[in-house]
């Protein structure tokens, strides 16, 4: 009875040899990133993709970035229309950066987000950016001197933000989670172009704040850092602290080793407030006015100054968040929802518009100095 069993396998293989999804790597173009815009005049989406295109022949094949763009009625249509230009199918599994132009983002980011999540090829771990330029196309269309993939460069700038917390690292699945939460506030990294020495380089800077699906505004790098502090997303990096006033005086850089932020709702006499407790463990990475902080007492004093500085920053950020945007980007609403689901149900309908603007936030920042680097005594 074994021979027939072998026949089963062989017969099926030989008689029905069809490989529907068999695709050689060289029959595809790898997409490394894309930009999506909306042409309001033509009423069509405009997709710009960066692909890895081979150049040269024989043994000396080099992979170089190439920019293609096409229009389409929907995002997917635009994606497919590119094939007409590229002549090969695009492969999205390795795309890392998806950029939405500001014009489109002010209307909605959903067309792109929906396609990323729904289609099997783009991964859930990619990063969606919002361009500070009018269109995303501009970012790609700038001349790039190197053979590096622009989109990968942008993506790496974001992932390295762990040590330079100036832009958030928000992957698409996290973005989806934020957008579908009850508050519906989300933030994604923002891209801009810097002009340095005549060449244009894209740079990831700050964050874009989203209200539901629409762009609400851009946060500066400093505000982004505050936001990340409040959301407990800081994993390292440098915190410059200004300890004095005047030019060149008293900037002190602290290297962050550990940071944790806990938000708890507090109820006092019918008034809801939030207590934000941030604990920081830092080391002095570099200082200018050395003599000042070397004894044990002085260390404590330094800790106080730093705590106060950070506290001011954060409070300032929250108040601006409340007044300028009226968007709960910090996630107080989520905390309330987990702690007091009953109360949340009552307030959630106009949380961002009213309640959030009203709440008090008590900041409690504690900076602990771990060491002062290799230096015992300054110059």
């Amino acid at each position: 009875m074994k021979l027939p069993k072998i026949c089963i396998l062989l017969g099926m293989l030989l008689l029905l040899y069809g490989c529907w999804n068999y695709r050689e790597a060289d029959s595809l173009f790898l997409v490394t990133g894309c930009g999506l815009d909306y042409d309001f005049e033509k009423d069509r989406y405009r997709m710009t993709v960066e692909i890895a295109a081979p150049e040269g022949s024989g043994k000396n094949v080099e992979i170089k970035p190439k920019i293609l763009s096409a229009d389409g009625d929907t995002v997917f249509d635009a994606v497919r229309n590119i094939i007409r230009i590229s002549s090969k199918r695009l492969y999205w599994g390795h795309a890392q950066a998806y950029i939405i132009g500001r014009n489109l983002a002010e209307k909605s980011i959903l067309p792109l987000l929906d396609w990323i999540i729904r289609d099997a090829e783009p991964r859930e771990t990619v990063v969606l950016y919002i361009s500070k330029c009018e269109t995303a196309e501009e970012i790609f269309k700038e001349k790039i001197p190197s053979s590096r993939m622009l989109a990968y460069g942008i993506y790496e700038m974001t992932t390295s933000a762990v040590s330079v917390p100036k832009a958030p690292y928000v992957q698409v699945y996290q973005l989806y989670g934020m957008l579908t939460s009850d508050t519906g506030v989300a933030y994604v990294p923002a891209v801009d172009i810097t002009r340095e020495g005549g060449s244009f380089t894209p740079i990831v800077t700050g964050a874009a704040l989203l209200d539901k699906e629409r762009l609400a505004g851009f946060l500066s790098e400093e505000d982004t850092r505050s936001l990340l502090f409040l959301r407990d997303e800081i994993k390292g990096g440098i915190l410059p602290v200004k300890t004095g006033s005047g030019p060149m005086s008293g900037y002190l850089s602290l290297e962050i080793f550990k940071s944790s932020t806990i938000v708890t709702p507090v109820f006092q006499e019918d008034r809801m407030s939030f207590k934000v407790k941030t604990a920081l463990e830092v080391a002095v990475g570099g200082e200018y006015e050395q003599e000042k902080y070397l004894s044990a007492d002085q260390t404590a004093e330094l800790e106080n100054i730093c705590s106060q500085f950070l506290k001011n920053k954060l409070e300032d950020f929250i108040s601006r968040l409340k007044q300028d945007y009226g968007l709960d980007a910090v996630g107080f609403g989520e905390v309330l929802k987990r702690r007091k689901p009953g109360l949340w149900k009552e307030v959630k309908s106009n949380w961002n518009e009213e309640t959030f603007r009203d709440i008090d936030v008590q900041m409690d920042v504690k900076v602990t100095l771990r060491n002062t680097g290799q230096y015992l005594k300054g110059l």
Partner: protein
């Protein structure tokens, strides 16, 4: 060709049970409609499963070595054919669902152009081979595959520790008890009823309940960790909006830019457990059909039954939308008469018959 009685070892039994129960939940996260409460629903369902296992154990041990169908034949005589028919119906139905899910999963996730029947054909052929080899081989196969399966689950879950954010959990029971109940019900493994045709082959019938218990606990633990991982990694809303949350959750793993893109591990797991689920259904269906026609051996009928299942996959559900709606809202209730009331009736009748038999045995004959 009469073969000697096949004997399942305890571990084989546990593996078969565990893999059958994980079957589709591992990939579709049955009960995810309950929201956060699904994490509470899992232990509740486990309690219900253990209660069910009591009943099934009792059916199996009333007359050791007799399966439920044997028992039905003893009790109901000719009428038992009706019982077989119902069992065959539900077994075919579950097999069809499993097979479709296989095809849909592979198609949606990675091979969009490959026709579904082609994928299904391969799996069905393997399942025919396995079922024809008999229960003992099936058990040994599961005994080998189950540790691999558990290893993958553990490994992958350990890898995603970095992405787990426990503070996203909660609130629990925010919408009252109703979601909890609707989440629990699909998780109750009424499919355990199929094992009344399998566990009569256990080497030691006194350990039947222990096998049930261990299998259920192992499954509940594994599922709990998988659910916990999915929810805390993806967030509840994203989890609920996906057909295959586990696949997405594992796709997010990225350790040092090196260990990433390993979601295929989930596919491997799903195919291993789904394969056993399909084989068990096929086994029960072909056994029932061979009993309906009065055949000695189910092996000769296995292949055509599998063809039938393959044919059903062509029209039973148009697409995964229909399938997932059916699986989530209709199937948990639809299966109750087949998988709960049928064994219940058999059990009660069997209990009565066993009492009678025992009395007969103790009474002096012909007084």
């Amino acid at each position: 060709m009469p073969r000697q009685k096949e004997i399942l070892s305890n571990w084989s039994g546990i593996s078969l049970l565990g893999m059958f129960m994980m079957g589709t939940s591992i990939i579709t996260m049955a009960g995810k409609d309950a929201g956060m409460d699904v994490l509470l629903a899992l232990p509740m369902a486990a309690v219900a499963n253990i209660l069910l296992a009591f009943m099934y154990t009792r059916i199996l041990t009333l007359y050791p070595g007799k399966s439920m169908m044997d028992l039905q034949e003893m009790i109901f005589g000719k009428l038992s054919k009706l019982f077989y028919l119902l069992t065959v119906w539900i077994a075919l139905h579950v097999a069809t669902m499993t097979l479709i899910l296989f095809g849909e999963f592979i198609q949606v996730v990675s091979l969009p152009e490959t026709p579904r029947y082609f994928i299904c054909g391969f799996i069905a052929a393997l399942a025919i081979w396995l079922v024809k080899d008999g229960l003992e081989v099936m058990g040994r196969w599961a005994g080998f595959a189950f540790p691999v399966f558990l290893l993958i689950i553990t490994g992958v879950s350990l890898l995603s520790i970095e992405d787990i954010r426990l503070d996203t959990l909660g609130p629990f029971l925010s919408k009252g008890l109703h979601p909890l109940l609707t989440g629990t019900f699909p998780l109750i493994a009424l499919g355990l009823a199929f094992f009344t045709e399998v566990f009569n082959h256990l080497g030691n019938s006194r350990k039947t309940f222990r096998v049930f218990l261990f299998g259920i606990l192992l499954t509940t633990f594994s599922l709990f960790f998988v659910y916990l991982r999915n929810i805390s990694v993806l967030g509840m809303s994203f989890t609920q909006s996906l057909y295959f949350p586990s696949y997405a959750a594992v796709g997010i793993i990225n350790i040092g830019n090196f260990l990433q893109r390993i979601e295929v591990a989930v596919s491997v797991n799903f195919i291993l457990v789904g394969f056993i689920r399909l084989s068990i259904c096929l086994y029960v269906a072909s056994k029932g059909i061979s009993r309906l026609f009065g055949f000695q051996d189910h092996r000769a009928i296995t292949a055509p039954v599998a063809f039938l299942v393959m044919a059903f996959t062509l029209f039973a559900f148009r697409n995964i939308v229909e399938l997932s709606e059916w699986v989530n809202s209709t199937y948990p209730y639809y299966r109750v008469p087949f998988l709960f009331f049928l064994p219940l009736v058999t059990w009660v009748a069997g209990e009565i018959k066993a009492r009678k038999d025992r009395r007969k045995a103790t009474l002096p004959p012909a007084l």
